[in-house]
Symmetry: C2
């Protein structure tokens, strides 16, 4: 098969991104989490589409909700546990979830299985969006240099 050319794309050709913008001790909790930013690789700016592989023990994010961003996830392979305000449920290949902007139902995936899980995550890009973390002592604040991570009492990390 010939290599794909734009506007098509083979995700395997897109750079892997590891790491997280969270301060410790939160960053390490994400575990083995690898993202390929497919939407950006295609030149999209209005929403992001990431192909994510989450190793056993990894988390998609800290449990959070967004003020202005709709999010959607679709499981491609493996299984994850979705944790929301209401508790836990197991999602497998072909299942999905959607989180409307402003819904205070904080959510994340945890991979409690022994195999990697792969999913697509999609979110619209919008200025002024903020995220809140009901389980963790973290919030984002802004000064003249941009956003920074703070404890909930305001002290910087």
């Amino acid at each position: 098969m010939d290599p794909l050319r734009p506007p098509a794309l083979d995700p395997a050709t897109v750079d892997e991104r590891r790491g997280s913008g969270y301060p410790e001790p939160f960053r390490s909790r994400m575990g083995e989490r690898v993202k390929r930013m497919l939407g950006e690789a295609c030149g999209l700016t209005r929403f992001g589409v990431n192909l994510v592989t989450l190793g056993p023990g990894g988390q998609s994010a800290l449990r959070h909700w967004h003020t202005l961003e709709d999010e959607f996830v679709y499981i491609l392979d493996g299984e994850v546990v979705l944790v929301t305000n209401d508790g836990e449920q197991r999602l497998t290949r072909g299942m999905c979830a959607g989180y409307p902007a402003g819904s205070r139902d904080a959510h994340h995936f945890v991979n409690r299985s022994t195999a990697p899980a792969t999913y697509l995550e999609i979110g619209n890009r919008i200025e002024g969006d903020n995220a809140f973390y009901p389980d963790d002592d973290l919030m984002w604040c802004e000064d003249e240099n941009g956003a920074y991570a703070a404890h909930k009492d305001g002290r910087r990390y």
Copy 2:
């Protein structure tokens, strides 16, 4: 496995939509095309996510480009031919494509295989978006009652 509860969703529980807003002779060209509007079923408003099954001989849409809408497609199963200004290429499971708003590279999928193909299609929702169809005698116009389909010389369908 227990039934999923919001914000999670099993796509099999979402209504199937058939048909097309195109006038004839274009509507029939879409063939066996079934959509499940997953994003809308989850209450999302800022972008749409549709799970589409395209039967043999079907088309995703007339070949088109959008003025204000980013689009992204990800192949879940089967194979499709992506047609763009530059020609044709075959996409199979795990491949994707992205169409930035305002790029005049008109695109669609055709299923030339003998099996159904399944893919996710994602697009941001934005007022004032328009689409253009370089291969077909179709455009959308607007009067006080809303949008209508017209020939390129302005006559209504």
